[in-house]
Each structure stands twice: as structure tokens, then as C-alpha cells.
Symmetry: C3
């Protein structure tokens, strides 16, 4: 059994956005009870992570950390036509995930108690992002 859907997510600029409920909705409408859900983002300047979803300070600290690790507007970058956040966004994406596989059991994403799925917008400005959700399994 196979089900797939392309969902659109509007970001409001750099930052993490929880999309667990959006993904769970697709799992629910798929009718798959046991299997695998693959979440794939069709961009190279936004990415996916699974992160602690209880305390928002975790994502704030994560943003602080990655901003320091991957400097915007680094002089070493030659690819800078779209601004200081352009090349930094590609690097942040490469260091995190474009695709994440999450098990499905009893029709639900089998996440740990404190896990959420996040879309991480790396560009400064708001973007409309496309996320492909693919579910394979049995009903």
C-alpha cells in the first residue's frame, strides 16, 4: 500500500516551524496502519529536523548555535548573488536533513514523547515550501 501527497508550508522567514500535525494528517488520510512515512523537502535552502518539542528555548539555542557555526555572508563564499543568507542556507541544509523516515504504527507516527518534526527555514525572508510525504505499509 502506497500513498503520497505534496503539502505546502508557508514560512515566515528564518526559524523552525513544527509540522508534526501536518504530517500526521497525511498519515491518517492514507489509511496506512503499519509502515514507514518518509518526509522529503524539495528545497536546498530549507531543511528538516527532528527536535525536542517541549521547550521553545531548545530551538532558539539551536538557531544561535547554527548561526555561529555557519556564518552568514562569510567572505569565503563566492556564491552570494542572493544575499548573505544564500550560501549559509545551503550549508545549513547539508548539515541537517532533506529526508527523514519515521515509522508508522497503529496509524500514528511512532515518535518519542518529546520529538517533533520541524521544517527549518534558513532564508531570512518568508517562503512557500513544498514537502513531499510518502507512506508505504499495510492497512
Amino acid at each position: 500500500m502506497h500513498y503520497s501527497k505534496l503539502i505546502k508550508i508557508n514560512t515566515s522567514g528564518r526559524g523552525t516551524l513544527e509540522i508534526t500535525d501536518r504530517i500526521q494528517s497525511v498519515v491518517s488520510e492514507s489509511g496506512v496502519v503499519d509502515g514507514l512515512c518518509t518526509v522529503f523537502i524539495q528545497h536546498t535552502s530549507a531543511s528538516l529536523i527532528i527536535c525536542e518539542n517541549a521547550d521553545p528555548s531548545v530551538r532558539r539555542d539551536l538557531e544561535t548555535y547554527i548561526s555561529r557555526l555557519v556564518a552568514d555572508g562569510d567572505r569565503a563564499y563566492t556564491h552570494a548573488s542572493e544575499g548573505a543568507d544564500d550560501m549559509a542556507s545551503h550549508i545549513r541544509s547539508v548539515l541537517t536533513q532533506t529526508s527523514i523516515g519515521v515509522p508508522v504504527g497503529k496509524g500514528r507516527l511512532v515518535l518519542g514523547t518529546w520529538q517533533g518534526i520541524y521544517l527549518w527555514e534558513h532564508r531570512y525572508h518568508a517562503h512557500a515550501r513544498r514537502v513531499s510525504v510518502t507512506i508505504i505499509g499495510s492497512s
Copy 2:
């Protein structure tokens, strides 16, 4: 054909722990001969990696490297209620893997000669960790 199992792994604190045999056991009992095995860790302060499994110095150097890359108790962290290793563990997890898909062929994980699957405990203290193993394929 679909098979899934939740396995529990007791860590002894920060460090890498090979779990290849534990995952292979689940593949074997699944009866799947050809397909895909997805390993998923249900935590945000421990993660998964595939790493060289011949020389233990690789994992020691990896620990040295990541400890320098992601400082424990960094003053920039505001999320520090559980100690100096708290936020560092979330960052280490985001920079490595929560989910890894490994092909299955002839009933075996199709790993390269020197590849092992590791659970990376990022917290200082021992923890009981839950890893979900999902196998999809044909018998």
C-alpha cells in the same frame, strides 16, 4: 511485507555503542529477504550514525571532535536546566541522524565491509534508549 519492533538499548553514558547485531537480529526474525530496514531512535539527546567499525580510535576521535564542535555548557545556551550536556546533546542529535534507512538483501543488512550502525549517547549519564526497527520488503 512489513515487520516492526521496538528494542531497548541501555547506554553507559556519553559515547558510541554498536547496535548492528541487534538490528540484524530483528531483520532475521522479520523473515524479509529483500527490502529496506529503517532504524529510528525515539530521543532527541541520543542519535544514530553509521561509522567505521574496525578501529575504535575512529569513534574516540569522533567524540573529541564533536565535543569541540558543540561545547558543553556554552554560555550562549538558555536551555540548561538539565545540565551542561543538555543543549549540547540536542545539537549533536540534530547534526547527526535520528533515522537511517539500510537496504536488506538475502536477509542481511547490506552494509559495506567497514560499516557499523551506532547509537550515540550524548548525555553524560547512562540512559535506557528506545530504537524502532521497521522492515519493509519481500520474503
Copy 3:
């Protein structure tokens, strides 16, 4: 429906090599129309990424960035028997991907407009690399 193939990719030393067409060829010969394609590299000193495929400067900057992030021949490394690029290659692999799941729709990899799948050779010298392609879905 399940199809898998091991492909060999000859690298010419450190750098990124686009393999999207090679993977698409396997998807096409599989006959799978809708499903999931998992790309898995059987090495720990070369890895996989999905990256912007329009402007080559992105991959050049990425190489500049990672060379600075993961120093070759760092004195802290004890695993150095194979040269200055040995341990650095293992770390680069751990920070990027060994396995990537890409959705398949209408017989094609469902990639974004500017996404390409790349093999990233981290060793200085040319290597013959093995990449396992596993496709699960319906025809």
C-alpha cells in the same frame, strides 16, 4: 514491488559528483511508478548529500566550508594511519548522509527544481565507490 541494484561510481578524489542521472536510471529500469527510492553508500569516508545543482560555486563553497570545519590532519586525531584526510573523511561522512530516501512519482525521482543527488568523495585520491539503490513501490 521491490527492486535493488548496486552501482559503482568512480571518483576522481575529493569533491562532489552528481549521481542523479545514475539513480534515475535504476528507478526507470525498476518499473516502479510510485514509491520510495533509498540511496545508500557503503563507505564511511565518502557520503551523500542533496544540494543545489544549478551553480557549481555552491559545491565549491561547500568544500571550502567543510575543509575549515573539519581540519585535515588535526593534531587531536589519533586515527591517522592512512593520512591527513583519513579521520577528516570519517567525520565529514558522519556530519552528512550515508542514506537518503527520495520519493518516486510517475516513475521519476520527486526532486525539487534545483536539487541534485551528489556523492561526496572525502578522500584526496580517486576511489571506486559502491552505492546501493533500493526501490519499493507499485508499478
